[in-house]
């Protein structure tokens, strides 16, 4: 009998522990009924979505003397821009931009006279929710590899369409004749949630 009482006591203790979380409901629970609660959880993983692609056409690069047309050297947009819509669900996204110089793949016959590459500055403008615009640039001249680990944009992205604009500015003139051919370069962009 004494042992029976001990088990009963433990059973009462367990009941007390179980009831504790629902103490606030205790008053509403009628005798003989059971009450409980279910916690609902979820998670939103920090991420960005969207697509960035396109081509910036600069057109004819050389001027009358065969060298880079001086009009390309200004710190303004040359050729068309490429716009994209990117959504990030974080308040602290980052952007990484890198670019390769324009090259027509022709070996300059005389490096002192001719060149087959043109450096420029790749630029990305990001509309933020601030509102405002965050700008990052990447000059191909002397550059190696992407910006690392990524530049903080400093604000959430704007939710407006075409909140990303990529452009080319400030082509670098050298006193050499550009070899004839098709010039191409690549701007690479990564937008991360943090």
């Amino acid at each position: 009998m004494r042992m029976f009482n001990s088990k009963l006591w433990l059973g009462a203790a367990s009941l007390a522990i179980c009831l504790a979380p629902v103490a606030s409901h205790a008053a509403a629970v009628a005798g003989g009924q059971v009450s409980g609660q279910v916690n609902v959880n979820g998670v939103v993983t920090a991420s960005c979505s969207g697509s960035i692609a396109g081509t910036i056409q600069l057109g004819e690069l050389d001027g009358a003397n065969g060298q880079l047309d001086p009009s390309f050297t200004t710190n303004t947009t040359h050729g068309n821009t490429v716009q994209a819509s990117v959504i990030c669900n974080s308040n602290a996204p980052t952007v990484t931009i890198s670019a390769t110089r324009l090259d027509d793949g022709v070996t300059p016959p005389d490096p002192a006279t001719y060149t087959s590459t043109v450096d420029y500055t790749a630029r990305i403008d990001i509309a933020t929710a601030t509102p405002g615009t965050f700008t990052a640039t990447y000059p191909t001249a002397g550059a190696g590899g992407p910006q690392s680990p990524g530049t903080a944009i400093g604000a959430a992205l704007s939710a407006a369409p075409n909140n990303i604009t990529i452009s080319v500015t400030s082509l670098v003139a050298v006193a050499k004749v550009l070899t004839a051919g098709s010039y191409s370069g690549v701007i690479s962009v990564t937008i991360s949630p943090s």
Binding site: T55, A84, A99, D104, L178, T179, G181, S188, T190, S192
Partner: protein, 193 residues
Amino acid sequence: MKLHSLLCTASILVALPVAASAAPGDVTGQVDVAGHVTGACAVITGNGTSSTFTGAIDLGELANPNGKLNTTLTGGPVTFTVVCNTTKPSISLSATSLVGVTTPPDATYTNVVGYTAHLGVVETSGSESFSAVSANGVPTATTSTLANPLSGSANNINVSVDTLTSNGGTLTSGAYGTPGGSGGIIAVTISPT
């Protein structure tokens, strides 16, 4: 069990597009930058450029004291600076004979003087020379593709004249070549290809 497998399959299918990203949740993109340089040649004129060049070679007195052509005369060179952005420019050279303003009174006279025009081209490696014999009428052009690109140095094109010829008659007096007479034109074309 089948439901679980189905859910896994669906998850993989959804996840695949993200595989191209640098990291999960990143957006990566690529923008191509394109431009072009059309093959072309230009004449450098001081700080400017032109599509043409002109010059003059004055041979002076053409006749010896005996009235016959002085065949030892030479003229030039006159020099120009031309740039081409291609690796294999080509040239064309032709010349018209000097024609005097006075018509010969008979066969013992002449007002036509022939010559050989020379075109010298300084290239990135060495130089080349081309020649064309003048014609009294429509000349035959000498054409060629250069062995190398044009040098970027100044005065990389030169034109000269030598080897004057005639029919051996007495030269009529007056101006020869253009203006004054006629002919005496050396035509040079340098093309990017």
